[in-house]
Symmetry: C2
Subunit: 349 residues, 2 copies
DNA sequence: TTGAAAGCGCTACCAC
DNA sequence: GTGGTAGCGCTTTCAA
């Protein structure tokens, strides 16, 4: 292994000069710098990360925790994070949290062992709020994506979920629907609660009465979307449209509707939330609310990097991104919003 | 930050004793060990990873490169890797390769800077074979998943793709199909070539003539499955079944068939390959060939860890896993394998 | 069983 | 501009 000493000896200078030359610091004659850089290259020198970290106290690594890195939902966020990381010389250290317990263990180790300079936390559970608070207390620099904590010491980046729920529902209302159901996510998660709020807001504005039996709770996973839709299909009067709190559940809803022999969008319109890669491939392609995930990832990384490079700037940055409605083929105008008998017609087969 | 020295001072021993005590090495009186462990805990001591790495020359980190970590295909592999890593005290450092160029840069940095003890490479492109060879030359311990290199210095774990292609095709033949098309992957990738081999082998065995116009090349992505299927739908005589080299393309094929007004499986049976999470959710649920991905990830990590802990055991381990046919609803018996006129009927609408 | 000291590779300080 | 040197926190001889 080639070290800084080897180069120093080879060039005939001291190790300190080599260090400065290689790190582009002031105080090295241009000619010697070139000599050193050249020799380093020839000898195949590569700085040892551990040694450097030990003295600089910086790892140039950012820890990233999310529930499950292979969730397609995170794909865009990851790409945004990577873009900034590679741009600014940071390495990303990913860690799945799955259940909060695991999360604390793995992440804690990274922080405690000083393997990361800061953290990016994506969509934590409510339960982990205490954990996040402990990060604040320790002084670990971090950014939370998908949560909007009021705490002025936390940096948060999220999408306006109330607005998202609102535009999804508004779209259905604009299509003439009035019996609009909603399959929610886990309601003790802020995201789900906010989307429900948006749903209600749109209903209120349109003067449509909120009916509790048109709202069924799911847990953000396919299976619950499927079963929630089954429940809704048994509810009378039958809804003509449904806003589902995320695309995974919407896929399940689509399946349930198909199995009931009904057609989307003609019998029931469906709007999802997230715009997963697969959402344009369903049958029919899903109308949904897109979150600017790439941008969120990118901003989160930028915010953290900037915070890392300028600790004096402090924390408390809050960035709220607007969601965007993506209209595809799973929604259409309500054929018969005011003709009760039509409901019977819908149950063909 | 609490260091080993702080503990030493606190307990009244030397740093070396503390180190040995904390690392469970011989030569420390049990009572002092307990004292030390206890104090370390109380003081909130956590070993500094960089310092330790600097002297031990081990990072306890495994680098993992794959084309795109957010590809659902890798999900199972990642979980297998994680299981073993957490079991054996290793941290996983993920890195997307996307295009081979990026791969070399990021990974190279990890190795050069000695940030990882070894590497796990998932499904590299053919182009990167030279790169992998360079790893061998450098003496970097590594395991390749999804490739079966003959090189006796390489550890490889893969699934028997020839068999996979074979059982997929055989299943269709057993259903009575004889006009079986095949949408391939990128053919200069071993995986794709092998699946094609398996397809031909099954055909040969059944005495079905291979017809080149029933084979269309794709590149493993949705879009190419869609367009390849479009091509096949224009081919006469029309196929009654198609084996698609991976599920993503199969999703595209399903879409193309639906758009043509044909039904799966009644008009055309479809078999995929991979068994993605979404494959059971398509309409109809996709019959496919499953790879034991969790097991492959698990074995890869075990192999590498064992190699890291026992360098003397050497390299060259080859593990080939068998694939498994998962029969769902996208395949069925061929209604009319020998009635040409049926083909016309199929083109309703 | 314990302690002193060297040293991993690097940066940073201070003197020249 | 350059070099000597201390030291980051830890493990690991080697001697006591």
């Amino acid at each position: 292994m080639v070290t800084i000493k080897d180069i120093a000896r080879h060039v005939g200078v001291s190790p300190s000069v080599v260090s400065r030359a290689l790190n582009n610091k002031y105080g090295v004659k241009e000619s010697t710098r070139q000599m050193i850089v050249q020799t380093a290259k020839e000898m195949g020198y590569h700085p040892n990360a551990a040694a450097r970290t030990l003295v600089t106290r910086r790892t140039m690594t950012i820890g990233v925790i999310m529930a499950d890195i292979s969730e397609p939902f995170y794909s865009g966020i990851i790409k945004g994070l990577e873009f900034v990381a590679s741009e600014s010389g940071y390495t990303l250290l990913f860690s799945n949290s799955y259940e909060s317990l695991e999360q604390s263990r793995v992440v804690q180790r990274m922080i405690d062992a000083q393997r990361v300079d800061g953290m990016i936390i994506v969509g934590s559970n409510v339960k982990e709020k205490a954990y996040i608070s402990s990060l604040v207390d320790k002084g670990t620099p971090f950014v939370v994506i998908e949560r909007s904590y009021r705490d002025p010491r936390m940096n948060c980046i999220w999408v306006d979920n109330v607005m998202g729920g609102y535009i999804a529902t508004k779209h259905l209302i604009d299509c003439g629907h009035t019996r609009i159901a909603h399959i929610t996510g886990t309601l003790d998660v802020e995201v789900a609660a906010d989307r429900l709020k948006g749903y209600r807001k749109a209903l209120d504005e349109a003067g449509i009465a909120f009916s509790p039996n048109l709202v069924v709770q799911g847990t953000f996973v396919w299976q619950t979307g499927y079963s929630a839709m089954k429940t809704l299909l048994e509810t009378r009067p039958l809804c003509t449209a449904v806003f589902v709190a995320n695309d995974s559940m919407a896929f399940g809803a689509l399946q349930a509707i198909a199995e009931a022999g009904l057609s989307v969008p003609h019998d029931i319109s469906v709007v999802g939330f997230d715009d997963l890669q697969f959402s344009s491939l369903t049958n029919p392609p899903l109308t949904t609310v897109r979150q600017p995930r790439y941008e969120m990832g990118r901003d989160a990384a930028r915010l953290l990097v900037s915070r890392l490079n300028h600790p004096e700037q402090g924390d408390g940055t809050k960035i709220c991104h607007p969601p965007e409605l993506i209209v595809r083929k799973s929604t259409t105008v309500c054929r018969d919003s005011d003709q009760p008998e039509a409901i019977v017609t819908q149950q063909r087969q």
